[in-house]
């Protein structure tokens, strides 16, 4: 077990393995995205009340779901880096932040675009929307803090602490926002919460969600590889790579 753990900590090994994983996962992801998108955008039946505008759901919902999961990945990586002083975990944490933030932004953006046809406005303060926005802030906080530190080793530690604090808070935040929203039954259109979607709409959605999970993994790994190279400049294994 420990040898494995040790391996996980070594950049060259990680670089090699991630390379192998990506070789398989990347094409798979692309395939799933294409299939899901075509299926959802072209073949899935049109929503009777929203028309075609609802098809954006095939990007919006996966983005939203994976964005949240991404934060936990980041925070747990941070915890590992703090507890076992494991460089690799720190790299993972650092690299997860921008990916997660991007997905969050995609969710916000797609949602906003979706909002125009459905609610006639780009933005409403719905519970899910609001908590998504807050999640976006949490991501930004980690990214900006990392940038603000001159010394990247310190930056890593600081961000690890911050993301842990954030992880403790996320459930509280989500609960509180839900409560807040239920408190003021607002006059706005509500999400059709437990959506009674026809399975022919649901299947491509599930596929897209799976695809987005893979997408997150790929982006994370790619990000980590470049970071590893950046940090490893001058070390033997990077030189070895450069040679061949």
């Amino acid at each position: 077990m420990w040898t494995w753990f040790h391996k996980l900590g070594s950049p060259p090994w990680m670089y090699r393995i991630s390379g192998r994983i990506l070789a398989i996962l990347l094409p798979l992801t692309v395939a799933m995205l294409v299939v899901g998108a075509v299926w959802g955008l072209l073949y899935a039946p049109m929503d009777f009340k929203q028309g075609n505008s609802f098809r954006i759901i095939y990007f919006h919902v996966p983005a939203s779901v994976v964005a949240l999961a991404g934060y936990y990945v980041m925070a747990i990586a941070g915890a590992v880096s703090l507890i076992w002083r494991m460089k690799m975990a720190e790299v993972a944490m650092k690299c997860a932040a921008p990916v997660g933030a991007a997905l969050t932004f995609l969710s916000l953006l797609s949602g906003a675009i979706w909002g125009k046809p459905t609610w006639g406005t780009y933005w409403v303060w719905d519970a899910r929307i609001t908590s998504m926005l807050i999640l976006f802030f949490l991501y930004l906080g980690v990214i900006v803090l990392y940038q603000a530190y001159e010394n990247k080793e310190a930056a890593g530690k600081a961000c690890a602490v911050l993301s842990l604090v954030g992880m403790v808070n996320i459930p509280i935040i989500y609960k509180s926002v839900d409560w807040w929203y239920s408190l003021h039954q607002p006059a706005t259109i509500k999400f059709t919460e437990e959506s009674t979607m026809h399975s022919s709409m649901l299947q491509p959605l599930l596929l897209m969600i799976l695809a987005f999970y893979c997408l997150f993994t790929c982006a994370l790994l790619l990000n980590m590889r470049s970071e590893l190279l950046r940090r490893g400049v001058g070390t033997s294994w990077v030189r070895a790579l450069a040679v061949n």
Binding site: L162, V165, N169
Partner: protein
């Protein structure tokens, strides 16, 4: 490295006294949040129009948003001085447990900003036409809420203190963490104002407070160590 630990209680009380003395020597730190609070509360009628009914309806929210901003601004400079003049280094080197030491920082910060805000909040509340019936709940929510804000704020301050002119970065870090406090505290006051029972929210606040009292010091001390090291 084994060092004999001198009387802990004496140290903690001394460190608390020291912070309060410094605050007293520098009253601006205490007055500014209040002043700020007063200012913004007066700005609101100017900004959104003086209709009493409306004001009354939004008083809880407004009061709590301002309280939140006030304690945010106060949190920013919490460790700055100690960092720059090297007191922080000495604190880290002292054999005393950093966990408790950082707790005293948050506690002092609360005494200096949270308590005055709490005590004056009824005044501001009446300026915003908040029904008198809600004042006790306002006080309770303020006392609990500002304490949480102080603890969470210290985390942000500790993590950012070494960043030259890190400035308002702290707001990005901790405002998201403030949000539950805002929601439940403002909710409690609103409930009270509308005649419902605010007990659940107050209990929730109490729970969050005990949680942050237990956990925040870890984050704070970690943050301080990192900052001193990076400086």
């Amino acid at each position: 490295m084994s060092l004999p630990t001198p009387s802990l209680a004496a140290f903690l009380s001394a460190s608390l006294r020291r912070q309060l003395l410094l605050a007293y020597r520098r009253p601006v730190d205490t007055i500014n949040p209040l002043l700020f609070f007063l200012l913004v509360v007066t700005l609101f009628p100017l900004g959104i129009g003086p209709d009493p009914a409306q004001l009354a309806e939004f008083a809880p929210g407004i009061l709590w948003i301002v309280a939140l901003l006030a304690s945010l601004m106060a949190a920013e400079g919490m460790f700055r001085q100690d960092y720059e003049d090297g007191s922080l280094e000495q604190l880290l080197l002292s054999p005393q447990p950093l966990y408790l030491a950082s707790l005293t920082y948050s506690f002092a910060h609360w005494l200096v900003t949270g308590v005055p805000l709490t005590l004056l909040s009824p005044l501001f509340a009446t300026m915003l036409q908040l029904p008198v019936a809600a004042l006790p709940v306002l006080l309770a929510s303020m006392a609990l809420g500002t304490a949480i804000l102080s603890l969470v704020g210290s985390i942000g301050a500790a993590l950012t203190v070494s960043l030259k002119r890190g400035g308002m970065l702290i707001s990005l870090i901790i405002v998201p963490l403030y949000i539950p406090v805002l929601i439940f505290a403002a909710g409690a006051v609103r409930f009270a104002a509308e005649g419902f029972d605010p007990a659940p929210q107050l209990l929730l606040l109490a729970g969050m407070l005990s949680l942050s009292v237990a956990l925040a010091p870890f984050a704070i001390s970690a943050g301080l160590r990192i900052s001193v090291d990076a400086g």
